[in-house]
Symmetry: C2
Amino acid sequence: MKVCKFGGSSVADAKQIKKILNIINNDATKKYIVVSAPGKRHNKDVKVTDLLIGLVEAVTYRKDYQELIAQILERFLQIERELNIRHSLIETFRTQLNDYIMRYQDQPERLTDALKSCGEDFNAQLIASYNNEQGIMTTYLSPGDIGLIVSDEPSNAIVLEESYEKIKNNLAHAEGKVIIPGFFGVNKNGDINTFSRGGSDITGAIIASSLSSDVYENFTDVSGIFSANPNIVDHPASIIQLTYEEMRELSYAGFSVFHDEALLPVYRSQIPVNIKNTNDPDHPGTLITNTRQSTGVVGVSCDTGFASINMKKYLMNREIGFTRRLLSILEDMNISYEHMPSGIDDISIILRAHQLEGKEAKLLEKIEHELKVDALSIEKNIAILMVVGLGMKTLVGTANKATEAFKAHNINLKMINQGSSEISMMFGIEEKDANQAVLAAYEAYFTH
Amino acid sequence: MKVCKFGGSSVADAKQIKKILNIINNDATKKYIVVSAPGKRHNKDVKVTDLLIGLVEAVTYRKDYQELIAQILERFLQIERELNIRHSLIETFRTQLNDYIMRYQDQPERLTDALKSCGEDFNAQLIASYNNEQGIMTTYLSPGDIGLIVSDEPSNAIVLEESYEKIKNNLAHAEGKVIIPGFFGVNKNGDINTFSRGGSDITGAIIASSLSSDVYENFTDVSGIFSANPNIVDHPASIIQLTYEEMRELSYAGFSVFHDEALLPVYRSQIPVNIKNTNDPDHPGTLITNTRQSTGVVGVSCDTGFASINMKKYLMNREIGFTRRLLSILEDMNISYEHMPSGIDDISIILRAHQLEGKEAKLLEKIEHELKVDALSIEKNIAILMVVGLGMKTLVGTANKATEAFKAHNINLKMINQGSSEISMMFGIEEKDANQAVLAAYEAYFTH
């Protein structure tokens, strides 16, 4: 039995919806289907989720929002028309939107999550209804119906442990196909709370884990995961297989094909994830598993927006508790760090730069005052490039391939971190060099 | 005005003592002289300090120690004879040794420090007395006389702040040459406490700092500091000038020409240190200063005996406070760490392996239990190689030189840490590769 999830572009219009139903109706093992909200149909299109976020703003700032509701419903109406649906759901949807607005107009967070959930929710209802009209027994079940209970953290909910058992029991006897909207759950009182953006991947992973699915098929609009960003590298190789851990290292530095938080449930229950292409379903795509046979580099990723806080203090390494006190300052200010390379008398904190907004001056002052460092500076516009692959720690010359490539392209290395992870090397570079560095590293590891 | 310190081999016998007196008597600016205990005269010789440590043991275990006292005094007697000293001090020395033994026989720590101090103390008295007999006004002053007050930490004393002012006042009006024994000070009650081994460098640095010496001349038996260990690299280049910070990074990984703790006083008062050779006093030696004009690699050092505790935990980088809790475990067990390279879901603690003795099992258990890591292992026999030099952070290809050299010699890199320090790169390798790696790195940076 398989759980399948279809992303926004896979359910963006009638043509795409027919494709996904073709995929699931022709395979009896594809039983539980998680769908996203309709995504972009073309480059300049607007995602339904973004239309809904616009609606939230209009309601919150007491602007006229009828036009926005019309625009949202028009998207679904168009799908219904093209699918020749007999029993339209549009008026049900309109009532639902207005109900949420009435109920939550003075609770902006509840309003946001309730309205944001409508993209997935309406799409799931519509697709289930259409598949039934085609004579295939299909049930729409909402997250509340199946017992997907989440923490009460609007827009950033986390699944509660009890959900796994509930979902297992609630879905055990479902007949035919089951269509479930992704992206949200309900708290213990039944209020809607969404996951972070792109969270339909998480819904699918939770259901796959609850049901011990043989595989979790995650359909997008690319044939698996590329070994480098295709906007930078021309036709990069596809990754056939990689491990959860390799996936996590790659997504850390910018690979966004599969939602990072969706890995945990499948990792824990060791369910393979297959990233596939709705538009080319016969392509094997990329398989994410617990282990793989071969070793070697699988991918090169790079993310920008990092900053480095550099401290210097003579005899720092004799000062017991220095680092612990430094970490306490960060924790007190609710700033999380990524890496902390240290020399004898130096230490750097590498972090996502956006965390410093509005806190930079105070943070520097606290470090200066509490740790009495000799020198303190912040460097911004740092990119982190990761070379990821099993067996990295035992390969002579793996690091050299990258440093040689960077040298040949005149890219200055601000930081090298190798050896902490057995499956990755990390390089700090200037943001302006990021694309060039990805090209250079890709060339070094994949074309030589 | 200069403060000069002469190491053990520079004052090992009459011939050497004549050399140092020749050096100081011919230069009116060389006024304050710190001397070590007599060192080795040849490869198989025993240092006087080691004879004294043997005496401590004999007394402590109630063995017959008269033979040891005779052996120690014989060293000084031989010097007196060869110098044709008129007024022998040997009986004074004998009384001193027996006094200490009587006074401290039931206080092993006091006994140890008092007896250990005698090597320097007797040598200073003897040299001052001889120089006076030669018609040069010379005063012997003990650390107690000059106000070198230290913490009451036997064998590991630290100078107290008040000493600087005291020494300055006490030495202000000294006439002629002043000879001071190195290696020890007195606590507030007047009890002798020694610095850590090799601590005469520290005494000289404290006096140079107290007196705002123009330069602190530190005489040894090599013409300055080599850019690599001469036991590994054949005739390595001498370093002409380097900064305090570069010196510290080099001594961290095994360069022991100048005592690490001696750097702090001179660093604070910005007094240049000149490492010179008693046997070749015209050689300019190595100058250690606050800054230097040029940039580039000055040295390659390598130290063994490190261990790495490797931890892996899925989603580690989301777990707020993980590292802080890890550091608290180490602090509670009184274990200090050197580096802490981290990946996304991995972290390693690099530390001096001897610290794990008797604590390893408990430490692992605590980490396992309190941090619930997914994987935990200890790797031993790790060497750390440092490539040190100003301007490292901005040089394209600096790292590549080393990685290329290691690859060419088939040396596997367990860890690379570049970027935390602006003046060094750190490489983790297996101990068995240490010498080969030093050779390779030296060749890469100094001969190409």
